[in-house]
């Protein structure tokens, strides 16, 4: 067919569970995103062309043209994975000069406030509790749009299964005012 439209966002999904990969892929495709699903943090870094070696990264980014470099608009990753956790992946992305601006979303089956806080404080845009729903995927749009427009996102209040988070207008940190026991 023709060339891919510029407005179709490309999401990189990372999850070691085949079932959850299939699910997240379907959720994202239903929302008209292009999806690449990988089963580990290492594969995700490989896909991005990001190596542990800073030298390589510089080499990659100077050599790669727009055509060669993979364009990823958002990364959504499971937290609990063998080897590199979703949190480790988040840190690596945020430490990378080429990729730190890609929004990262973490998913987890466990509702552990300290875990959630740590991820959000270290740069994750959202934290979804599994199983991820269509309503969660609809929350991705503003983060994807940020990459296109320079407008700041409006502050909004999200409630999610006992956690309350507030996105400040200058999108720095999320704060938890109180925990609701469900």
């Amino acid at each position: 067919m023709g060339m891919a439209t510029q407005t179709q966002f490309h999401v990189l999904a990372v999850d070691d569970s085949l079932i959850d990969r299939k699910l997240i892929e379907r959720l994202l495709k239903t929302s008209s995103y292009q999806v690449t699903a990988v089963d580990s943090g290492n594969k995700a870094l490989e896909f991005l062309g990001l190596n542990d070696n800073e030298e390589d990264e510089e080499r990659n980014s100077s050599v790669a043209s727009d055509d060669q470099q993979v364009r990823v608009n958002l990364i959504i990753t499971d937290y609990c994975m063998p080897g590199m956790t979703g949190y480790d992946l988040l840190r690596k992305i945020k430490q990378s000069s080429s990729f730190k601006d890609i929004p990262v979303v973490i998913m987890s089956s466990e509702n552990i406030p300290s875990r959630i806080n740590r991820c959000l404080e270290d740069g994750a845009e959202e934290f979804f509790l599994k199983p991820v729903q269509l309503s969660d995927v609809s929350k991705l749009k503003p983060h994807l749009m940020k990459g296109i427009t320079s407008k700041e996102t409006k502050s909004n209040i999200n409630k999610r299964k006992g956690m309350e988070e507030i996105h400040s207008p200058d999108r720095t940190r999320a704060r938890y005012s109180e925990l609701e026991v469900v």
Partner: protein
């Protein structure tokens, strides 16, 4: 049997699975993700669940049979099973896994063995229910009918 009757049977059967707690809202989410372009999505995911679970249950049996039980390994397997059952809406299996993990945490071997039996039971029951569900759907499709959407007030 008329298609309409099979459709009615399917609706009643599905509703009963929700009422009895075999399925939860996540299963409805799965159904919502199925459409003409992905007509077998639910069956595919459930099938993956069967394969995955069978493997995990085998691993768990072996792991709990060791002279020295590696509870971390056992917990990892149960965590995975809990995750996949949760992802497809197999509520009773998921709940059995939650109980199982509690015994792993305190390294209670007897408790773990009992839980393994319980998880196996719930798994086989769930498998049976899903197979019946899909059989009814196949009958409807084979008779030229369409699969009715279940409306549930959640």
């Amino acid at each position: 049997m008329e298609v309409v009757q099979i459709q009615r049977n399917l609706v009643d059967y599905t509703k009963s699975l929700f009422m009895e707690g075999f399925l939860d809202g996540q299963f409805l989410q799965l159904q919502q993700l199925q459409d003409e372009s992905n007509p077998d999505f639910v069956a595919e995911v459930v099938s993956l669940f069967f394969d995955d679970s069978q493997k995990l249950l085998n691993e768990l049996t072996i792991a709990l049979d060791q002279p020295i039980v590696d509870f971390k390994k056992v917990d990892a397997h149960v965590h995975q099973l809990k995750g996949s059952s949760s992802s497809i809406g197999a509520q009773k299996v998921k709940n059995a896994c939650i109980a199982f993990r509690n015994f792993c945490e305190v390294q209670n071997i007897e408790g773990c063995l009992t839980c393994l039996q319980q998880v196996k039971l719930e798994y086989y029951l769930a498998k049976n229910k899903f197979e019946t569900l899909f059989r009814l759907e196949q009958q409807i499709v084979a008779s030229g009918g369409s699969i009715p959407m279940i409306e549930m007030g959640f």
